[in-house]
Amino acid sequence: MAKMPHLYTQAMSLRVSMVTGEDAQACKGRSSVFEDRFLVRRFNAGDAQALRRIYEKYRSDLFRVAGALLHDSTAVEDVVHDVFVAFASQAGRFKLKGSLKGYLAICVANRARNVGRRDKPIRPDRLRAVEPQADSSESAADAELHEKVRAELARLAPEQRQTVVLHVLGALRFREIARQTGESVNTVKSRYRYGIARLRSQLNGQVER
């Protein structure tokens, strides 16, 4: 698998850290933004390697978001596939507003919601179709808890579930979610708060605050 050189990213990280004296985490986030802009520019120029790099960079987050919103792995792959093909079809005219990750995650969430509407409502027992990542250290109790969490997550209202998934699994800030969905930040925060509260109440104190 050919990977793009990250000299540009490294150079930008080094430059930012030298100039601003920011810590490593902030510098990493800033460099990611610069890299996204660089990748989008190359992507708009028709660089297939840039597209590949974008996919490599955000595929894990997108699969997590889609996996949390859909009930089978085939649908997850289809959603990510459709989102990326649609994204690639905008080459040459794509304008990045906000973060690239947020844009792609919202696209995945919206498409997953459309697929969910088209298909039958998600039933907790069908969530098993999305295979959990094999973890040898995971005990039976943990597996049971995880299954219950997924079930309760599926029972949330769609808007709450999407907000929780985007914030927790997509690592999107509320402001970014609000920007991409067109909702107000307070609305997004409220949905998240209600969603988490519902999950916590359904899990009946099995988790610490």
Binding site: G46, D61, S73, L153, V168, V207, E208
Partner: protein, 369 residues
């Protein structure tokens, strides 16, 4: 019970899936491949759209519109003043053509000079005494004639005189009626026959207007340096390959027997003020044929007196035949020879060359269609 994790960690842990892990799977390869194909297709389409958009953007620009208008105005000015390469007189054949369209009739007067190295034997009666040897005993034989030509949409008539004013011959074509008449006054003979429709159409263009129109439309001519003609600094246009046009256009042994052209050059001189011709010239080199009395000959034709818009009686193109004139019966050899010689010496031939060439082009075009 997981007491150590927060709800976020629990959600993250619960939603870890096999898909989207760190390992590259066939599904990832398929997604990237399809996305790349979509991107390539989009880029290809964008290139087409971009060209259109750029043009739209250009034309939407106010500055561009003004610039385009300026360029168009400049180009129009250039075309109207000098479309064919420039002349300090600013005369274009298009101007001449326009000026001629306003002059449907013309009377032209000029000379025809036939130069042969040897005295012809076969010639119409009465012509032999007219040959001169200005170069002495070793010089060529020269026959100098004067021609008066009447042209109108109804027809064309040429009257040929010797240099002393003796009326030698008369060649008239009534294009509307399709009748050609040749009067040989020295021989007191005449020839009248119907012109076939195909030749009638061709002869209908045997006018100075048609000649200029042909030059302009073909674009196959050369500007020549201005020359003082009849006190006027005239602008010249020249066609130097008339012989090729004729030989290439008419592939008939009979025509070659009549007009065996080896080299033919035609020039027209235009008055820059009136945009009308002030002189036409033709230089023709002929191999032995009927027109040259079966001798290699050089024919010079000059028309240097033009009267435009004159009234021409229709009878000029269909003259009355004197009762004493003997009728020649075509296609008798003598009649053909006389007819051909008369036509050439009348100066019709040089213009015929261009008309035949043009007719050939139209025929080719119609074949292509």
């Amino acid at each position: 019970m997981n007491r150590s994790g927060t709800i976020k960690d629990l959600i993250r842990a619960a939603c870890r899936t096999g898909s989207g892990g760190s390992e590259w799977t066939p599904a990832d390869e398929r997604i990237v491949r399809d996305a790349s194909a979509a991107m390539r297709q989009t880029c290809t389409d964008n290139q087409r759209v971009t060209r259109i958009c750029i043009w739209r953007k250009i034309m939407e620009s106010k500055m561009t519109r003004y610039s385009a208008a300026a360029v168009v105005a400049l180009a129009a000015a250039l075309v109207l003043t000098n479309p064919f390469g420039g002349s300090r007189h600013g005369v274009a054949l298009a101007d001449v053509q326009t000026a001629l369209e306003a002059q449907p009739t013309v009377f032209a007067k000029g000379t025809r000079v036939l130069v042969v190295d040897e005295m012809p034997v076969l010639m119409p009666p009465g012509l032999a005494p007219l040959f001169e040897r200005p170069g002495g005993e070793t010089g060529p034989f020269v026959l100098t004639l004067t021609a008066e030509t009447y042209m109108s949409p109804q027809g064309c008539a040429t009257k040929i005189y010797d240099k002393n004013g003796g009326f030698l011959a008369e060649i008239c074509v009534h294009t509307e009626m399709g009748v050609a008449t040749i009067l040989l006054h020295t021989a007191k003979a005449y020839l009248r026959f119907d012109v076939p429709q195909e030749y009638r159409d061709m002869m209908a263009r045997f006018t100075i207007q048609g000649f200029i129109d042909m030059m302009y439309r073909s674009g196959d001519y050369r500007r020549i340096e201005p020359k003082r003609v009849q006190g006027i600094e005239a602008v010249g246009f020249e066609v130097a390959d008339a012989h090729e046009r004729l030989l290439a256009g008419v592939n008939s042994p009979i025509v070659r027997f009549l007009f065996n052209m080896q080299q033919a050059t035609a020039r027209v001189w235009i008055d820059p003020k009136t945009r009308l011709p002030v002189q036409t010239e033709g230089d023709i080199e002929m191999k032995a044929c009927l027109c040259s009395f079966f001798k290699d000959a050089h024919v010079e034709q000059i028309d240097n007196s033009f009267e435009w818009g004159v009234e021409i009686d229709e009878a000029t193109f269909l003259p009355e035949i004197p009762e004493s004139y003997q009728k020649l019966s075509p296609p008798g050899g003598a009649a053909i020879g006389v007819t051909a010689s008369s036509i050439v010496l009348a100066g019709v031939a040089p213009w015929c060359l261009f008309r035949i060439r043009r007719s050939r082009r139209r025929t080719r075009a119609s074949r292509v269609r």
